[in-house]
Symmetry: C2
Subunit: 430 residues, 2 copies
């Protein structure tokens, strides 16, 4: 972790440069797998599952009995924890549902928006060493609240052709409609094109390795939408003398243990704090099971000391972190000035872990500076806001002449005519 | 306009197939222009403006004096019409602003979303035969309401190096911060990379020809977001015996006059109505200035007769039209069942033109079936919903153990440790 003391503003972009994350190089390779899935169907899915997951799967669809077995295998304390987290996530995402507001913009002209769930959504949960059941909750709970009719989950099988019980437990808890033992590019291809009993969906959500990201990017040029662009996970911490160095070290390490390309940035007005945090990192790192991963991430990470809080805020807004922890005396005031961030954690007792798992906010957030233009997942990600309008005869009499003038000025006579015919008919009616 | 009487459901996909709209073929060509703009700066912009717009421009930025001249050139009746339309668009989009709701998901755990405007947005308004000032209103008014700090408008100059006064009038009315005489791929490149006095933006909005669309698609793989994927404009009309054939013909023609690749679909349970509408189309078409364009669009268009209203609804939901007019006796009831559409127009006196110009709804809508996963432009398009959370010592005591169990089960020990350290510190405090 390199430290910069009061670096000039002109150097910030360079200091905060993220490692290049481009999936373009993988595109040809991923494209050829996708093409084969599109034409080869289930057989192609089997072939690549053997190749990449090392297991031969006859039926990708998880059966009722497997879910029942899983329920009995999950520890009661974990079940209870998942249920509490699910409840909080549900409460927070339900609060995002907007009601229909009919607006009369001109007498007789009424307009409104109606939120309608995307019909079919595909959720991807990566495999790997540990079961990411928390991601099941974060993707499926808002989909269910949004009213998505079909919620398809794909997640890779292990070498025994099984899915971790905790994932199946979470999936049945939140109302997933189909679960398939399918990972990587195969999963994205199956949900994008529809393969046999795996339906084509309208939008695909969820994290994944760079092959999954490349596949999502490719299929999004066809007719399936994706949640957001990809990048490694990251956290920035803003801290002052009131921060607890051990807490900050633990927050930086939680991010660093995600992967060797994770980003960790500490921004503070206290040089003293940097020293203490580094000491604490060393202590805590020593006993971490994922020490070697965290070390790699820390090697690319920065501590920036800026005397002025205003500069600290500017630097954070330029960086646009996925996660931002503000451990400062006046954190509420500082938070007001944050305009580019995915999710913000306030004060000494609000670690990122809380939002990763259980506080209620979504943990699928814009990385790689995309917080400048994207929100994290929320109810909007799973709905369309369809606009409606209803104009009465009185309304068209009021507004029609305005439309006629504008259409004529844009030289769109048929647009004008659609108004004129109606106005004439209403005149005749008198 | 071909008519299908009660076609089998299995044939719908084929009947409703849209003309292939792919910009992939243009990508190499557009990429090379973009690359040159990235390295060549203002000189490259000048070169391509000469080449594509046939005019040599020294300073792309529109000057105060040009705006003042434009204001004096626009007809008072058009000014008034633009102001009324702007007022309605403002009223409707202001109603979409959501307030901050703090949610306590667990005692001591408070989460909320805050809407923050995207800092810098780039708006593109195409040139062509007529001045599309309505698009200026539709893009800039929500950007302003959202609180975007910099709103950059690019639109191509004419052969005299000027921008149509109506566009400048609309731009100054709605608070655009910079206007540049720049069209096509040059405009998209300038706003995506930032060229000299034209700033790099975070998100680019607006329609354009296939070169503009290809450029938007390419730059969206970098770090600039775009509003939505592209496709030709389209309208579907659902009608029964209560519909007015002349009105419907005028609505279909308003869509058809947009361009030769526009899509027009009539779905009805009355064969009789199809005959009458076709007669009316012939009559109205004869005197249209854009007759030849509309004829081409109509050649690819369809009338589908389905006896059952339920089938009409299913067909529309499968097609997912950009615009949908429901001219049926029980239109409110039918509208309730529409799940895939961009914007819906209800009853005999609600023509698409109203939403195109002045009722208040946005006219930038998802085409090409993208209504299955995208909304039309609305306030959400110009903001990010940043999540915030604040957890008190009591809150972390309540929720901490849940997070510890989940983090341990996902084998992320540093995540767990961030909680454990805080819980220990609170225990020590007693």
């Amino acid at each position: 972790m390199k430290t910069y003391i009061n670096p000039a503003k002109s150097t910030w972009t360079e200091i905060l440069r993220r490692p290049v994350f481009s999936v373009i190089e993988l595109e040809n390779q991923v494209q050829s797998v996708l093409t084969e899935i599109k034409s080869g169907g289930i057989e192609a899915l089997r072939k690549y599952t053997e190749q990449f997951d090392g297991v031969s799967i006859l039926n990708f669809a998880v059966q009722e009995q497997e879910i029942e077995d899983a329920i009995s295998l999950v520890d009661d304390s974990l079940k209870k924890a998942i249920e509490i987290a699910a409840g909080n996530i549900r409460t927070f995402h339900e609060s995002q549902v907007s009601s229909v507001k009919k607006i009369e913009t001109t007498p007789g002209v009424v307009c409104w928006q109606k939120s309608v769930g995307i019909e079919k959504v595909g959720l991807y949960v990566p495999g790997g060493s540990a079961p990411l059941f928390s991601t099941v909750l974060m993707l499926a709970i808002p989909a269910k609240i949004a009213g998505c009719k079909e919620i398809i989950l794909c997640t890779p099988p292990n070498k025994e052709g099984k899915i971790h019980p905790a994932i199946l437990y979470a999936a049945q808890l939140v109302g997933i409609t189909q679960i398939h033992k399918l990972g990587g590019v195969q999963a994205i291809g199956a949900m994008a094109y529809g393969v046999d009993y795996i339906p084509k969906v309208n939008k695909i959500f969820g994290p994944g390795n760079q092959y999954v990201m490349a596949a999502k990017q490719i299929i999004s040029r066809g007719d399936v939408a994706i949640d957001m662009p990809a990048g490694p996970s990251e956290v920035a911490v803003m801290a002052d003398h009131t921060a607890n160095p051990a807490f900050i070290a633990s927050d930086l390490l939680s991010q660093a243990e995600h992967g060797p390309d994770s980003q960790v940035v500490l921004v503070t007005n206290s040089s003293d704090l940097v020293v203490k945090v580094k000491d604490e990192i060393e202590k805590q790192l020593a006993i971490l099971p994922r020490k070697s991963i965290a070390e790699k991430a820390l090697a690319n990470s920065h501590a920036v000391v800026l005397d002025q809080v205003a500069d600290m805020i500017d630097l954070i807004n330029e960086y646009a972190p996925e996660h931002l922890i503000i451990a400062m005396e006046n954190y509420a005031e500082v938070a007001e000035k944050i305009i580019n961030a995915g999710s913000v954690f306030l004060g000494n007792y609000t670690p990122e872990s809380a939002g990763d798992y259980a506080s209620g906010t979504n943990h699928t957030l814009p990385t790689n500076g995309w917080a400048r233009s994207f929100s994290g997942l929320n109810i909007d990600s799973f709905i369309r806001k369809i606009t409606f309008q209803e104009i009465s005869p009185e309304g068209i009499k009021n507004l029609g002449p305005v439309i006629e003038i504008m259409a004529a000025a844009e030289e769109l006579e048929a647009h004008k005519n659609a108004i004129s015919l109606r106005l004439e008919e209403l005149k005749d009616r008198k």
